[in-house]
């Protein structure tokens, strides 16, 4: 297992290096990062001055090494809009996003897993039909549109929850539902098919034929094996939420990273966007690594295997 974890760790470091390369070259795709970041009406002299100030006139390799060495020690560059280092701005917004994503994920898991389990154990039942309908709805409804509908119904018409901001504990409810609904759909469907698949495995038949009670079979054999595929997907979903928050946070004026990213794009503050992209990638890659560790702990095939 140590070897497995070590190789996974090494892989994660490589992935992050890849992210840095990607983010560095992305703002250079159009050929001229200075023009990209300056307002459209800027004069050629201004652009030239900006290019020199940002160091874009240096050789690419020097710029890249500069960018790389900065990122390694946590210096992700300066925001053009706020005129200060990007990292403190990100850390300031991070708790709001983590709160939103955690509540969303909790909402998705708490609703989805029981529905998926019932559906898998009793396919064709009323609960199964309900679960499948919710699963399909969750995967088909655009979350940015659902957010608008939630605002109209629950904030404007009924007045139960605030429609924007992060002032009271109630504020998180609507954005969390809107952000979590896609993961909810995916988790219901996944849990259901995992249970169905496991139930048709040979070892379940063996367990039945050696006379184990259904309860023991469900808890010890089916649930444990279903948990393995769930853990990996839940990890991925959290990463998805960090990216998806860009819509939801904008709509609900939620003061998190997603809204910071959207606002920064609006004012062409690309160093800020770069920093957010790198930072979010670090979080996602770390989460994936932790998921794999959890995976290895749950699944003896990985613990003792390769």
């Amino acid at each position: 297992m140590q070897r497995y974890l070590l190789s996974r760790f090494f892989q994660s470091v490589l992935v992050l290096f890849g992210v840095l390369v990607l983010v560095f070259f992305m703002v250079r795709i159009t050929g001229d990062p200075a023009r990209l970041m300056m307002p459209r009406e800027a004069s050629p002299e201004d652009i030239e001055e900006f290019r020199h100030r940002m160091g874009f006139d240096r050789p690419q390799i020097v710029q890249f090494l500069d960018f790389l060495s900065g990122a390694v020690v946590g210096d992700f560059g300066d925001s053009l809009h706020y005129m200060m280092p990007a990292l403190p701005l990100i850390l300031e917004r991070l708790p709001a996003t983590v709160e939103l994503a955690s509540v969303s994920l909790a909402f998705a898991v708490i609703v989805a897993v029981p529905l998926g389990l019932i559906g898998g154990f009793r396919p064709g039942s009323l609960w199964d039909s309900l679960g499948r309908a919710i699963g399909l709805f969750g995967q088909s409804v655009p979350n940015f549109w659902l957010a608008l509908v939630l605002i109209i119904v629950f904030a404007v018409k009924l007045g139960w929850f605030p429609s924007f901001g992060r002032d009271s504990p109630k504020s998180v409810v609507l954005p969390a539902i809107a952000l979590g609904v896609f993961s909810l759909g995916r988790l219901v469907r996944l849990t259901r098919s995992a249970v169905l698949e496991i139930r048709s495995e040979d070892y379940i038949r063996t367990a039945h034929s050696k006379g184990l009670s259904p309860r023991v079979i469900y808890v010890k054999h089916v649930l444990r094996n279903a948990a393995i595929s769930l853990v990996s997907v839940i990890g991925v979903q959290f990463g998805y939420m960090l990216g998806g928050s860009i819509y939801i946070e904008t709509i609900f004026s939620w003061p998190g990273l997603g809204r910071l990213a959207a606002d920064s794009i609006g004012v062409r503050d690309f160093p800020m966007v770069q920093a957010i992209a790198v930072f979010t990638s670090v979080v996602v890659v770390t989460l994936n690594l932790l998921t794999d560790v959890a995976y290895a702990l749950i699944d003896p095939r990985i613990r003792y295997g390769e």
Binding site: L136, S140, S193, V284
Partner: protein, 321 residues
């Protein structure tokens, strides 16, 4: 044996089906394309949600193909006198504009019909590019294996580990608003999933009995790839393409919503949502219709994809029963 023979027109499920994979790899291979098509049609008619999915999808295709014939108005024509008119069945509505008008008095029904063109174009060409890249790279990675495979999969894992949406928005903001840019963005960023699925399937097929048999009678490499591997890739890739197309239609609207997709003058569902958001309280229907359009298109493709997956993968079909 006598019992093994069946009339050629027989299209229902067969005895061999319960054996899952073995059926797929031997008997079906021999029966050829016509047999498969008959069997697919038969299975589709039997599956009601699959039919619903197909119907929804075809509805969007028809809307996109015949927009000028179906739309009652020019989607760009402004009638400021009737701006923000509600749908026909509510107070103040008029059947001249069945779904109402937007803030500039443009007919919402016509804009929804024309908007399907952008969504379908992005979805179709995006999937075509992603699938093309995925097929070629996945075949190389899976069939050649070794160091090449390691490098390719390393890169794929990097891309798949990224917070996808954030990067899509980031690239779209850099490249600027155009239909071609949006198609390229989705086509390229989505290809890693196709690479991974293709490679997985190639690895599985490469180890199968019939590829081994083909090798042992001395079939050249190109023949194994084109005659044995490629036909077996079609099923999984079409299924994946359906889901990914649904995803692209979804994300294109998301980009439009942030003002990063096609130019604002083009009627697209995302642009309509983005515009309607400003009039959420005074004219909620402006944002409602494009949202419903996206949802039903996505629903149709998901149903279609579910059905395709069940039909094309006998292992899952068994599990579902």
């Amino acid at each position: 044996m006598e019992s093994e023979r069946r009339p050629k027109s027989y299209t229902g499920p067969r005895q061999g089906e319960v054996e899952g994979l073995r059926f797929r790899e031997t008997e079906q291979e021999v029966r050829g394309f016509r047999y498969r098509l008959n069997r697919l049609t038969w299975l589709l008619v039997r599956d009601r949600s699959g039919m619903l999915g197909l119907a929804l999808f075809l509805l969007v295709v028809v809307a996109a193909a015949f927009s000028p014939l179906l739309a009652p108005h020019d989607p760009l024509e402004q009638h400021l006198a009737v701006s923000k008119q509600p749908p026909a069945w509510s107070d103040g509505g008029d059947w001249e504009y069945p779904l109402g008008t937007d803030n500039l008095g443009r007919d919402l029904l016509s804009r929804i019909i024309y908007g399907s063109r952008v969504s379908l174009t992005v979805g179709f060409f995006g999937v075509l590019i992603a699938g093309g890249i995925g097929l070629v790279v996945g075949l190389i990675s899976g069939y050649i294996g070794g160091r090449v495979d390691n490098i390719i999969m390393g890169v794929i894992n990097i891309v798949l580990a990224l917070p996808y949406l954030l990067f899509v928005v980031f690239i779209a903001a850099i490249l600027g608003r155009s239909l071609l840019n949006v198609i390229l963005i989705f086509g390229i960023t989505d290809s890693p999933i196709f690479v991974r699925v293709t490679r997985g399937e190639v690895l599985r097929i490469r180890e199968s009995g019939y590829v081994e048999a083909a090798k042992s009678i001395g079939a050249p490499r190109w023949r194994i790839i084109f005659d044995h591997i490629m036909p077996n890739l079609i099923g999984p890739l079409i299924t994946l393409a359906t889901f990914e197309m649904s995803g692209m239609i979804f994300y294109e609207a998301g980009l439009g919503f942030l003002g990063l997709s096609v130019p604002p003058s083009v009627p697209s569902w995302g642009n309509m949502l983005s515009a309607g958001r400003k009039y959420l309280l005074s004219a909620p229907w402006i944002a409602t219709w494009p949202g419903l359009a996206i949802m039903f298109t996505s629903l149709g493709m998901n149903l279609l994809g579910d059905w395709l997956r069940d039909v094309l993968d006998p292992r899952l079909r068994r599990a579902r029963k």
